[in-house]
């Protein structure tokens, strides 16, 4: 079925990103916006904007019935959920299926399969995809037995968690009983699912994920990997492709594993399979699958020249995969910096407010995905992502230099941002060498803090 009108159930830069592709495809857009976003850039650029409720996400962006009613009310053919909010809630995908509205994403069953982290782990094992040593535990006794087997440090993870949420690190076996009790009760209240499982904690690991596209009938292609190891509290800050200093063999095996896993699910739409690369053992493990378009998708678009949103829409409209694996060529290196309204000097505390001035960089190999212009508001109710600056160049050093210049040309006044912090990281020799692990950013912050203290006290 041809998609002519799409309801966008999201806000911010991703709403604008969907609008941009829709305009190129001559598809009408209807933005479902909260009261706080009615004067936002996406609201002004969509063909139509509907006010779906008050600012609080629970009263607007998270209301499944309202979103589907809005889509039916404006006769939208499809709903694009963006990322976050309802994008990975099976209940929205299911209601769309029932009401005959196309959900631009995977099936409800697929979202459920990867949302249950234990089930996703089992699927990975069945598909022959490596997982970190570990498994389900129901009792403390089982946890002790398994804990002894995999050794410490280990993680107690919530089955309903993911993205760094619902995890407890255990360094000594004798701490398992108390940690497990705490993890179980926390998971119960946070995710409505008290089940937990154990996994080996990888001390030095890199976060490498693979972008895939599936047609829903078992055909899957990958579009290469992204290295998202520069994280703070599981929040990605800088992403790049290709993953630097990864052996060709390991890279190929990671790509193949992502395809195997997605084929096993007959995955439909764009998705990302996340892996942890264990630097000490030279191994990699399946982490989880994100059943949505991701924040960092533009770096993949930059090196492949493929518009992932357009492919999502094509697949949703029944046109399947429009290329084979061999047609996908990846050229050069792309890096993304997430510009957030948060204050590094105050422990990255969110800093909402009105943006007095916003000047974004431009030029060859520079792309900015943002909904922020001079005068825009950063409301306090939502995440603090203001913009993504993406650069593309023939090689990594050139891309890094391009990013430094792009960041230096950026000017934001009115709210605190992490812009200067990005420049600090980009000046750091360790980051420039490439291939840092996930503990890099906390270590970098600690080094910065110590250096500042030394300066302050002579």
């Amino acid at each position: 079925m041809a998609i002519r009108r799409i309801l966008i159930a999201n806000r911010g830069e991703i709403a604008l990103r969907v609008i941009r592709t829709c305009k190129a495809l001559a598809i009408e857009t209807v933005l479902a916006a909260s009261e706080a976003d009615l004067d936002s850039l996406p609201a002004r650029l969509a063909d139509r904007t509907l006010c779906i409720g008050p600012a609080r996400p629970a009263d607007s962006y998270l209301r499944v019935d309202t979103i589907v009613q809005a889509a039916l009310g404006v006769k939208a053919d499809a709903i694009h959920p963006g990322y976050g909010f309802l994008s990975e809630r099976p209940v929205l995908a299911r209601l769309c299926e029932q009401e005959g509205v196309i959900f631009i994403g995977p099936t409800a069953a697929q979202i459920e399969a990867v949302g249950d982290k234990l089930r996703a782990r089992a699927e990975a094992e069945t598909a022959g995809v490596p997982t970190a040593p570990g498994g389900a535990v129901e009792t403390v006794r089982e946890a002790m037995v398994l804990g002894r087997e995999i050794g410490t440090p280990l993680l107690i993870k919530a089955v309903g968690g993911g993205g760094g949420r619902g995890m407890k690190r255990v360094d000594r076996l004798e701490d398992i009983p108390s940690a497990m009790e705490l993890a179980g009760s926390e998971a119960g209240s946070a995710f409505g699912d008290a089940r937990v499982y154990l996994e080996r904690f990888v001390e030095r690991g890199r976060h490498v994920e693979v972008q895939i596209l599936g047609d829903g009938n078992g055909r899957v292609v990958h579009l290469g990997e992204r290295d998202c190891s520069v994280q703070r509290r599981y929040q990605k800050l800088i992403e790049e492709t290709p993953a630097p200093r990864l052996s060709a063999d390991l890279r190929a095996r990671i790509h193949a594993a992502a395809v195997l896993f997605s084929e096993r699910l007959s995955y439909r739409s764009a998705g990302t399979v996340e892996f942890l690369v264990d630097l000490e053992r030279g191994a990699f493990y399946f982490l989880e699958m994100n059943a949505r378009i991701q924040v960092e998708h533009p770096v993949t678009e930059a090196v492949t020249g493929i518009d992932l949103l357009a492919e999502q829409i094509a697949i949703a409209g029944g046109r399947g995969l429009r290329f084979k694996q061999n047609d996908i060529k990846r050229e050069g290196c792309a890096i993304e910096c997430r510009i957030n309204a948060e204050d590094p000097a105050r422990d990255f505390h969110p800093s909402p407010g009105t943006v007095r001035t916003a000047v974004w960089p431009s030029g060859e190999g520079v792309r900015v995905d943002t909904h922020i212009a001079s005068g825009s508001r950063v409301p306090p109710y939502y995440d603090s992502l203001m913009a993504k600056i993406i650069v593309h160049a023939a090689d990594r050093p050139t891309a890094l230099e391009r990013m430094r210049r792009a960041l230096a040309a950026t000017r934001i006044e009115g709210v605190a941002t992490n812009l200067a912090f990005h420049l600090d990281v980009l000046a750091d020799p360790e980051f420039n060498a490439g291939g840092v692990d996930t503990s890099y950013l906390p270590r970098f912050l600690e080094r910065q803090r110590v250096a500042q203290e030394v300066r302050a006290h002579g």
């Binding site: 019935d65 589907v68 009613q69 809005a70 404006v74 007095r356």
Partner: protein, 153 residues
């Protein structure tokens, strides 16, 4: 072109008969700000626009194409949620209210359907229905004005 006293008088007359409360006009460096019910118009050389900073967020959203009220002092009944608006309890039945209906706070003035769930909308104030803006069976947005009442009758 300059503004003569006659021009200003004419503009004031136009504003008086329009549905707007204020008017800002800028011609060749002369800025004219008119406001309904205020004192004399002010005329001054145009200054550069102040930087657009910290504009207060409008308290509530008014859809751009909303019909202006037919008389001053009316109270608006806005939709508490997005959905399909129905004026009557069932198709074919008489509407909950018509223009001229007297309502009290608890009077149901319509129904909003959200995925087959029917939500009653109440007047919220005591008064008389003067205008009904929302159409039966149409999609209404959150906070969209459904009708206007003359309060306190």
């Amino acid at each position: 072109m300059t503004l003569t006293a006659k021009d200003v008088a004419e503009i004031m007359r136009l504003l008086e008969h329009s549905s707007f409360d204020s008017l800002s006009l800028e011609i060749n460096g002369v800025k004219l700000n008119l406001q309904r019910g205020s004192a004399a118009p002010t005329s001054q050389p145009a200054a550069p626009a102040p930087p657009a900073e910290s504009q207060p967020q409008p308290a509530r959203f008014v859809p751009p194409k909303v019909k202006p009220p037919s008389e001053p002092g009316l109270t608006e009944v806005a939709s508490p949620l997005l959905g399909i608006f129905y004026r009557a309890p069932k198709p074919g039945e008489p509407p909950f209210v018509e223009v001229g209906s007297k309502v009290v706070e608890d009077t149901v003035i319509g129904i909003i359907e959200v995925m087959k769930l029917m939500n009653s909308v109440r007047a919220g104030v005591r008064g008389e229905v003067v205008e009904i803006l929302a159409e039966n069976g149409a999609l209404v947005e959150y906070d969209e004005i459904l009708l206007r009442l003359r309060p306190g009758v």
